[in-house]
Subunit: 343 residues, 2 copies
């Protein structure tokens, strides 16, 4: 579709624009050296490239900037993933050498480090706790009518919630209840807890415990309901975008930051990403607020089971080579790191 020379020129323009954030003209390309043609020749090619939709001109007497289509071609065919900064990677690994203990911490840290290394904003989606299974359930009564319900998953994730106890329930009944629940539901996937509660626990409960219906009701409220167990979203470097020249306008900043505050939206955005690395450029993103941003996501997995997603949000003019390389490595590292929890 494109001649070699056109590819070279497109590549040069995108590279230059990524560095400078300013429209690049024929002369500066010519001077770079790697395209050995005169400005005039390059101009002709640029004109063609514009006609083909790979370039745009902010106004007649300015240089060219890549269009969405141009970036897309660059990402798909031109970007070379040079040995992504070795120093930074070892840096990343050393951070995690001291074994972190909480899965949440690991994810948050990874997000922070990625944001620091790239100077863009990072968004990480923790492992879906719905894939986990119940390890242990516990009720800690605080006083006569309230208790804390605690759920521990096989991965060490803990959720807790306050529940009000059925009136007049006895301590021993409470203990029996917890015992039965653990006996029957340990090992059950989190998603199926509520349904299994009725099929498995119900009758057993009715045999040993008074008012078993209200107890059952209480238990249902105590267990994390499928929907509300939203995947947690971790953000890193939210303010990094403010250093990018494309965000010198406060209104733009506000719409972006407001989007970043909407956890459910982010969650949906990332969880819809396919496995492996995906690049969504400009208007390829659904949300208008980031129509001049790009989002690169990497989903990591163990044995084909997806564990989580980590993404970088930057201006369309972002350093694709660096970010893709980094995400590739980091996502693989994450999978390794997390494998501890998933044996």
């Amino acid at each position: 579709m494109l001649t070699d020379r056109q590819r070279m020129i497109l590549n040069a323009i995108v590279d230059d624009y990524i560095r400078s954030a300013e429209p690049v003209g024929s002369r500066s390309i010519s001077k770079r050296g790697d395209v050995g043609f005169s400005p005039a020749t390059i101009r002709n090619e640029m004109s063609d490239l514009e006609e083909l939709g790979f370039l745009e001109q902010p106004h007649t007497s300015a240089g060219r900037i890549p269009s969405i289509k141009g970036y897309r071609y660059y990402v798909d065919h031109l970007v070379r993933l040079g040995e992504s900064n070795v120093k930074e990677i070892t840096n990343f690994r050393s951070f995690f050498a001291e074994r972190m203990t909480e899965i949440e911490q690991v994810t948050q840290q990874a997000a922070n480090i990625l944001a620091n290394m790239t100077n863009y904003t990072s968004i990480a989606l923790g492992p879906e706790s719905l894939n986990h299974s119940l390890k242990h359930f516990q009720l800690v009564p605080l006083n006569a009518d309230t208790a804390v319900a605690i759920v521990v998953t096989n991965t060490g994730h803990v959720e807790n919630k306050m529940v009000s106890l059925p009136e007049g329930i006895s301590m021993s009944d409470l203990e029996k209840t917890v015992h039965i629940l653990n006996a029957k539901l340990a090992g059950v996937p989190m998603v199926r807890l509520t349904s299994k509660l009725y099929t498995e626990v119900g009758q057993e409960l009715s045999r040993y415990v008074d008012h078993y219906e209200s107890v059952l009701n209480m238990l249902e409220r105590a267990l994390p309901a499928g929907e509300e167990a939203e995947q947690r979203v971790y953000l890193g470097g939210t303010t990094n975008m403010l250093t990018q020249p494309e965000f010198k306008d406060v209104d733009k900043v506000k719409t972006l930051l407001d989007l970043l505050d909407e956890t459910p939206t982010l969650s949906r955005m990332l969880s819809s990403a396919p496995s492996g690395i995906q690049v969504r450029i400009g208007t390829e993103n659904e949300h208008e607020a980031i129509n001049d941003c790009s989002v690169i996501t990497a989903t990591y997995a163990i044995d084909g089971q997806s564990l989580g997603t980590i993404g970088i949000l930057g201006p369309t003019r972002m350093d694709y080579a660096k970010v893709i390389g980094l995400l590739d490595i980091v996502s693989k590292d994450m999978a390794m790191l997390l494998s501890r929890w998933y044996r």
Copy 2:
């Protein structure tokens, strides 16, 4: 110190400036009606007020704006806390009518609502968990060498942490350990846990459990260490500031948002607030990033014991009357709401 007329004029200027964000001139004051003098007279007074340090002039041919000292006088002597928007308050209360179950949720919600009502940024400091005492301790083994340690306080707050188990410890020893710890430390204030661990639990443990030293060591890591149990900070309306005209400069925005990301700094800032309502105007704040902001904090307490602090961060030109009134009511409501947990 000031004549009645000067007070009236100062009040009018601050009010006007708070509304308009623009230097206010003698003519506009005169037209307001509540100061029945000609522009010329007002000009003379304004000149005096400037000499006294209550007003400032951006440049010779502009109106006046209040100085820090001017705001201070306004806050201390002039502001009238008119029945702070009844609708908004009932609004606030109805939000909490449906009893929230988690103390964290309550605080976060309060922060969000305050931010919405004021259109400024709110910062809330949760109740210090250090005042709480141990209700229940639990170890849930995940596999042969790791377990989740769970600590429940008397207020229903749950902390959890992963610990690696001493090698080759038996299940029954683990159970004994947990049992002993609960027997000995239930009711002990969180701050004293670690110290009591050695004095109270140590020898008991040595009597019943093998390798009791490594077990003790593990327990110490499992309990929340005093320092790391930082008070949690809840933010609301971080992006609200971006709608304020004083933040049309992205650099300013960045320094502010960066400050808001530093949880420990915020925590220190709020926790140093005295009981009751405090107003810190402009440079009265230590941090340079908010030298043109004001922070109003309210600390709420039950029976003289401070439970937490809630604050509003806005431009110096913020609506003091509204915010102070609101904070006063909200902080009292918070105390009531939380009293449930602290009986």
